[in-house]
C-alpha cells in the first residue's frame, strides 16, 4: 500500500474552485515532483495534505497517509501527525522562522512536542538535527537568531525542523526558489541525502522542470487546479502527450533564434567606432551607518573597480548571485548613483558631469527594463501616459501628434495594439506588462537597453515569449543590451558575451559559449555546475535508468 494517496481531492475556497479531482500516490522512500506555473494550485495541494487550509475552504475526496484518511481526522489528531509523520519545508526561508526565537529552540520545540524527552535531551537532539542539515552547532550556535543567518542557512533550519522526527513524508514547497543557484544545489542535495537516510518520501513542488527532473521518481504536471499529466521519470519525458506539458517542456529549454550573426567585442568593425556605453574602474561604496556619533564610518564596496565597454548591436550578459553588486552597477551606469571613483560614459558624455541639455540627450540613449512587471507602472496612470514618460526628455522637440504616434509604434513593436494605451496596468497580465515596460524603453529610440532581471518574475512559458521579443527587437532595431540576471540559462540564450560578477568585481568575461564550455574561474565553474539544466539532467537520468 502506498504511503500517501490522494483520491479525487477537490478544494473550494469560498465559492472559488481551487483544486479539481487531484489523484496521485506516493510510495515510501520515493520522490514525487509536482510541477506547474504560478496559480496552478501546487501549494494548496500541499496545504491540503497538511490540513492547514484557510478557514473558508471546503475539501472533498480523501487523503490517506499511512492508512489513515487525514480528511476525517479531528484537529487534535492532526496536530499529532503534523511535524511527526509529515513535515513541511516552505518557500520563503526569510519569513518562515520566528524572528524572536533562537533557531535551536525552534527545532527543539518540534522534538518536545512529539516525543517524551526532557528539555535537556531535546536540546541535544536539536543540535544533532542541526548538525545533520550542515549547521555545525560548534560554528553556528543554536542560540543564534534567524536574522543572523543567510537565506540558505535559514532554509537548513526549516529543513531541520521538518526532519526532526524522521517523518514518513516531507513536503517541500518551492524550497529553493528564493535562494541563489549555488545554495539551491546544496539544499537539493541535502534533501536527497536526508530522504535516503531516513527512508522518507519527498513531495517536491517546483515551477522549475529541471529541478524536479533531477530529483523525482515520478512527476505530476498541474494546470489550473488539475493534474494534466503524470507518470514515472525519465520515461514520461518521452511520452508527453498533453499540449500543456509539451509547451511547458519546450519553454523550459527554449532558445530564441537570431537572424543576425553574433557580434563580439573583438570584432574588427568595432575598433573604429566609439562605444555606446563604457565604464572605467568604477567604484561605488555605500557607507554603513555609524555605530555611534564620532566613530569612524565604514563602507561596503558594492561595485569594486568595474570596466566595461558596449558597442552598438552587442548583447552582453552580467551574471552573479544576489548581493554581488549587479543592480548597483546598473544604477551607476544609468546615471542614478554617482560612482566614488572611475567614470561612466554614455556616448561621449559623462552623465554625472554633463550639462542639462546633454544629459537629456544621454538619457534618451539609455533605457531600462525592470524585473517586477507589477511595480513598473504607476497604477493610477493609463498605459499610454506611462509609456510616454521618457519622452519628457525631449518635451521641447516633440509635438502631441508625434507623441501619440510614438506610443502607438512602441506598443506595436512589442506586440500590443495602440488601443492598449487607454487601459490601466491592472488590465494586463504579467507578461503583457513586461511587454509594456519594453515599449516604454523603446519610445526614446535608445541605443542601449539595460534589462535588470527582466524575466525572473515570469512563468516559464511567458519567459520564452519575452526572450523571443528581446532577440527579435535587437535584430530589427540594432539595439545593444546589457542583460543582468542570476539565471544562467536566460543569459545564455540571449547574449553573445558574458561577464561574471562576484563581490563587486568582474571576475571573468568572454564569449558566452566559450565560458559555458570552459569556465576558468572556480566560482564560474561552481555557478555553471549548480545551474539546473533540463537537457543534461534528462540525459543523465536516462543513462541511470538503463
Amino acid at each position: 500500500m502506498s504511503l500517501l494517496t490522494l483520491d479525487n481531492v477537490s478544494l473550494t475556497i469560498g465559492d472559488k474552485p481551487i483544486l479539481q479531482n487531484i489523484s496521485f500516490s506516493l510510495e515510501r522512500g520515493q520522490c514525487l515532483g509536482l510541477v506547474g506555473e504560478s496559480g496552478s494550485g501546487k501549494s494548496l495541494t500541499a496545504l491540503s495534505i497538511m490540513q492547514l487550509l484557510p478557514r473558508q475552504s471546503h475539501l472533498a475526496g480523501s487523503i490517506h497517509l499511512a492508512g489513515e484518511n487525514l480528511v476525517d481526522l479531528p484537529e487534535r489528531q492532526l496536530c499529532k501527525r503534523r511535524g511527526n509523520l509529515m513535515g513541511m519545508v516552505f518557500q520563503e526561508p526569510m519569513t518562515a522562522l520566528n524572528p524572536l526565537k533562537p533557531i535551536g529552540a525552534q527545532v527543539e520545540e518540534c522534538i518536545l512536542l512529539h516525543s517524551a524527552v526532557t528539555r535537556h535531551e531535546a536540546e541535544g537532539l536539536a543540535r544533532r538535527q542541526l548538525q545533520r542539515v550542515g549547521l555545525d552547532p560548534d560554528q553556528i550556535s543554536p542560540g543564534r537568531f534567524p536574522h543572523q543567518l543567510s537565506g540558505g542557512q535559514r532554509q537548513r533550519v526549516v529543513i531541520a525542523m521538518a526532519i526532526a522526527m524522521k517523518p514518513d513524508l516531507i513536503i517541500a514547497d518551492e524550497p529553493t526558489t528564493a535562494l541563489d543557484v549555488t545554495s539551491q544545489a546544496e539544499i537539493l542535495r541535502l534533501l536527497k541525502d536526508l530522504m535516503s537516510e531516513d527512508q522518507s518520501a519527498l513531495m517536491l513542488i517546483s515551477h522549475d522542470l529541471a529541478v524536479v527532473a533531477d530529483m523525482a521518481n515520478s512527476i505530476a504536471i498541474m494546470k489550473k487546479g488539475r493534474i494534466v499529466e503524470q507518470g514515472p521519470l525519465p520515461q514520461l519525458f518521452d511520452s508527453l502527450a498533453h499540449p500543456y506539458s509539451i509547451r511547458l517542456f519546450e519553454s523550459s529549454t527554449h532558445k530564441p533564434k537570431r537572424q543576425k550573426p553574433p557580434l563580439f567585442g573583438d570584432d574588427p568593425s568595432l575598433a573604429a567606432v566609439a562605444p555606446i556605453l563604457s565604464a572605467h574602474s568604477v567604484v561605488r561604496t555605500y557607507p554603513l551607518p555609524r555605530q555611534f556619533p564620532y566613530l569612524e564610518r565604514r563602507a561596503t564596496r558594492a561595485v569594486d573597480g568595474v570596466d566595461l565597454t558596449i558597442h552598438k548591436g552587442q548583447s552582453i550578459g552580467l551574471v552573479g548571485e544576489s548581493g554581488c553588486g549587479k543592480s548597483t552597477l546598473a544604477r551607476t551606469l544609468l546615471g542614478l548613483d554617482a560612482p566614488q571613483e572611475g567614470s561612466v560614459h554614455i556616448g561621449r558624455h559623462d552623465p554625472y558631469s554633463a550639462n542639462k541639455s546633454d544629459l537629456r540627450k544621454v538619457r534618451r540613449d539609455i533605457q531600462i527594463v525592470f524585473q517586477d512587471p507589477n511595480g513598473s507602472f504607476n497604477p493610477r496612470h493609463k498605459i499610454g501616459r506611462s509609456v510616454a514618460e521618457p519622452l519628457y526628455l525631449c518635451r521641447k522637440d516633440i509635438s502631441r501628434e508625434e507623441r501619440d504616434e510614438r506610443i502607438a509604434t512602441s506598443l506595436q513593436q512589442v506586440g500590443l495594439t495602440p488601443d492598449d494605451a487607454e487601459k490601466f496596468p491592472h488590465e494586463f497580465s504579467g507578461g503583457e506588462r513586461q511587454r509594456i515596460a519594453i515599449a516604454r524603453a523603446l519610445i526614446t529610440r535608445p541605443k542601449i537597453i539595460i534589462a535588470d532581471e527582466p524575466v525572473s518574475a515570469l512563468d516559464v512559458s511567458i519567459r520564452a515569449q519575452i526572450l523571443d521579443l528581446f532577440t527579435d527587437l535587437r535584430d530589427r532595431l540594432d539595439l545593444s543590451y546589457l542583460f543582468i540576471s542570476h539565471d544562467l540559462s536566460v543569459v545564455r540564450s540571449v547574449t553573445d558575451e558574458i561577464m561574471v560578477m562576484y563581490r563587486g568585481r568582474i571576475i571573468e568575461r568572454g564569449r558566452t559559449e566559450a565560458i559555458f564550455q570552459n569556465p576558468r574561474e572556480p566560482y564560474t565553474r561552481a555557478l555553471i555546475g549548480a545551474a539546473p539544466d533540463l537537457h543534461k539532467t534528462i540525459a543523465r537520468r536516462r543513462k541511470e535508468a538503463e
Binding site: Q51, G335, Q367, I368, G375, P379
Partner: protein, 299 residues
C-alpha cells in the same frame, strides 16, 4: 501602525469606489452621521430654533418639549440651538487643525522622503520632538502666553497633527520611492518635486484621507477636552466641552445637560471613525483577501 500595503495598486478599485462604498455599512452609517452634523453646523449660520446666546431666566432648566427640542440650560439657553452652534465650533476647530497638520505635515514628510539624508533625519527628529508636547501641554503654554481662546485649541491640536501626517506621508512615500515606476520617472529626467506631485501624492492620497478622518475625530475630542478645562473656546460662543463643564454643577438636578452634549460628541466622533474604517476597508485590498493560517477544524 499604518503600513504601506494600504495603498491600492489597483486603479480599478479606485474607479468603482463609491459603488463599493454603498456596500460597506461602516461607510454608509459613518457618512450619514458625519453629513448630519456638518449639515447642522452649516444650518446654524442661517437658522437656529432659538437664539442660542440670549439669557432667559424664566425658561431655565426646561425639560424636552415641542418648543425646546432638547430642553434648556440653567440660563434658559435653548439646548438644541447650542448644540448646533457647538457643532459649528467643534467641526471648525478640528477641520482647521487637520488642515494645519496635513498642510504642513504632508509636504514635510514627502520632502523628507524625497531628499533623505540629514534633512530626513532633521524633519523626523523634529516630529519626535513635537510628539513630546501633547495638545494640552501646548495649549497650556499658549494660554499662559496669550490667554485662552479657540485659536489656542486650533494651534495646539494642529501642531500635534503635523508630525502625524509627516510620519505617515514619509513612510508611505519612502516605500514608493523604491518602486520601479519611480525609478523610471527619474530616468525620464523628472525632478523630485515633479515626481512627488505626479506619482507619490496620488498614490498616498487614500492613506492620507483615511488618516484625515481619524485626526478629525481626535481633534473634536481634543477640542472638547480643552474647552472643558477652559483652555479652548471662550464665552459667549457655546461649545460642547464648555457645555459639559457647566453641566457638572447641575449634574444632580439636570443630568440631561451633561448627557446631551456628550452624546453629540460621541456621535460625531463615532461617525467619523466609522467613515474612516469604511474608507480603509474599501482601500485596503488585504482586508478582503484575508486567508487565516490553517485550522478549518481548529475552531
Amino acid at each position: 501602525m499604518t503600513r504601506p500595503h494600504l495603498f491600492s495598486t489597483d486603479a480599478h478599485k479606485y474607479r468603482s469606489f463609491l459603488a463599493k462604498g454603498m456596500h460597506s455599512p461602516s461607510f454608509v452609517i459613518g457618512g450619514i452621521i458625519t453629513l448630519f452634523f456638518i449639515a447642522m453646523a452649516l444650518t446654524s449660520f442661517v437658522w437656529t430654533p432659538h437664539d442660542a446666546l440670549s439669557v432667559n431666566i424664566a425658561e431655565r432648566l426646561k425639560p424636552i418639549s415641542a418648543s425646546h427640542w432638547l430642553g434648556t440650560d440653567h440660563y434658559g439657553h435653548d439646548l438644541f440651538s447650542m448644540i448646533m452652534l457647538g457643532a459649528r465650533n467643534s467641526i471648525a476647530v478640528a477641520l482647521v487643525a487637520v488642515g494645519i497638520g496635513a498642510g504642513l505635515g504632508v509636504p514635510l514628510g514627502s520632502w523628507a522622503a524625497a531628499k533623505g539624508g540629514w534633512l530626513d533625519e532633521a524633519i523626523m527628529r523634529m516630529g519626535d520632538f513635537i510628539f513630546a508636547f501633547p495638545a494640552i501641554i501646548s495649549a497650556i503654554m499658549i494660554t499662559a502666553l496669550a490667554g485662552p481662546g479657540a485659536i489656542n485649541a486650533i494651534v495646539a491640536i494642529g501642531i500635534f497633527n503635523i508630525p502625524v501626517f509627516a510620519r505617515l506621508a514619509r513612510g508611505a512615500a519612502l516605500s514608493l520611492w523604491t518602486r520601479e515606476f519611480i525609478l523610471a520617472a527619474r530616468l525620464s529626467g523628472k525632478g523630485s518635486v515633479r515626481i512627488t506631485i505626479e506619482h507619490i501624492l496620488p498614490n498616498i492620497a487614500n492613506l492620507l484621507i483615511v488618516q484625515g478622518t481619524i485626526q478629525f475625530s481626535l481633534g473634536i475630542l481634543a477640542e472638547a477636552g480643552l474647552s472643558y478645562v477652559g483652555l479652548g473656546t471662550q464665552p459667549p460662543m457655546p461649545s460642547w466641552g464648555k457645555m459639559l463643564a457647566e453641566a457638572q454643577t447641575w449634574l444632580m438636578m439636570a443630568p440631561q445637560l451633561a448627557i446631551i452634549p456628550g452624546m453629540a460628541i460621541i456621535l460625531t466622533v463615532l461617525g467619523l471613525n466609522l467613515l474612516g474604517d469604511g474608507l480603509r476597508d474599501m482601500l485596503d485590498p488585504k482586508v478582503r483577501s484575508s486567508l487565516d493560517i490553517g485550522g478549518s477544524k481548529a475552531s
